[in-house]
Each structure stands twice: as structure tokens, then as C-alpha cells.
Amino acid sequence: MAWFCLVLSGLSEVIGVYGINRVNEKKGIQGYLILAAGFVLSLGLLSVAMRSISMGTAYAIWTGIGTVGSAVLGMLAFGESRDVRRLLFIGMVLAAAVGLKLIS
């Protein structure tokens, strides 16, 4: 159950990131609502997951799903660059962020 919450929490973060793009592409309040709903839900589920999963592990997986999900979302939904170098550099940032959360 905790792991289910954690995965959902990461996916909600991606919904929040979708909201960021929505704010920039269309006028109106909808983008802000999606953004706020996504991130609030994400943090709520994360804190539920952390009751039984250790903080470092939970944070690391949450960051991982959020970062990979945002990159994939950007490429599939918004036509962002699929340049190999871009994916490599995002991978470096991702590996470092996940590593830092696991060990600190």
C-alpha cells in the first residue's frame, strides 16, 4: 500500500508538471488548478508512503519518477528534444539527485 502511494505520488508530480506547461500554453485558471492539485496530492501521498518506507528511499523514488516522468511527458506531449545528449545530461542530473537522496 505504501509503495502504491509512492508510485501514485510520483505520477501526481508529473500531473503538476503538466500543469506548469498548461499555464504557459493557455490563459485561465485551469493550469494553476492542475498544478496545485498535482503537487498537493503528490506531497500528501509522499507523506503517507513515508510512514512505512524510509525517508531517503521514498524521496529518491519520488524524485526519480517525477524527473523521468516530466522528461517523457515533455517529449511525448510537447514535442521536446529527443537529442541523445539531452537525455544523457538529464540522466546525470537524475542519477545524482537520486543518489544524494538515498545517502543523505
Binding site: I20, T67, L73, G74, S81, L100
Partner: protein, 115 residues
């Protein structure tokens, strides 16, 4: 360093302050500052993502937030310093600099092309 990248970096700095705020805030004004920092970091991230791809800005934003928090906790809250942490921070900086070097910005038209 152009405007959009500066906004991503400053958004990351605000993120560090609210992550620390969420952990250490203890009264009404520290919580108010924490809330302001959350708003400011989101606002800057949204603006930067107008011209930069959101997959990139979000990765850099998260990365700066994570590395900055680790650095500040080592500096201010007596967390242990380790070679592994420093190596990971170097890896992260490498990735961020790489991204900044290769990313093309969208023109005023919001529909972006592939770089």
C-alpha cells in the same frame, strides 16, 4: 547566463529554502516565509518553462534543490560531509552545465521545435 536559466537557478534556491522551511519552521513567521518560498519557486519555474523545455527545467530545478539542501545541511545542520556526496554533486553540476549548453530556447511562439 541568460534570463531563463537564471530563473531556473533562483527557483532552485527558493526550493532549498522551503525544503529546509518544511523541516525546521517553528512559528507563524517561519511558516509564512516557507509558503512565500514555495510560491516564488513555482512562479519562477513556470516562467522559465515558457522558453525552455519543461523536462529540462524540472530536472535542473529538482537537482539544484537536492544538491543545495545537502550542501546547506552539511554547512548548517552538522550533517556529515562525505566523498560520495561531493562526487554526486559534481556529477549533477556536469549534467546541469551540459543541459544549459545544448538547450535551444523557444521563440516567442509557444510551439517548440526539436533541437
Amino acid at each position: 547566463m541568460n534570463r531563463n536559466w537564471t530563473m531556473v537557478f533562483v527557483a532552485g534556491l527558493f526550493e532549498i529554502s522551503w525544503v529546509i522551511g518544511l523541516k525546521h519552521a517553528y512559528n507563524w513567521w517561519t511558516w509564512t516565509l516557507t509558503a512565500i518560498a514555495i510560491g516564488a519557486s513555482m512562479d519562477l519555474l513556470i516562467r522559465a518553462s515558457k522558453r525552455l523545455p519543461v523536462g529540462t527545467t524540472y530536472a535542473v530545478f529538482t537537482g539544484i534543490g537536492t544538491a543545495g539542501t545537502v550542501v546547506l545541511e552539511m554547512a548548517l545542520f552538522d550533517e556529515p560531509v562525505s566523498a560520495a556526496k561531493l562526487l554526486l554533486i559534481a556529477l549533477l553540476l556536469g549534467g546541469v552545465i551540459g543541459l544549459k549548453t545544448i538547450t535551444q530556447e523557444k521563440e516567442a511562439e509557444p510551439k517548440g521545435g526539436r533541437s
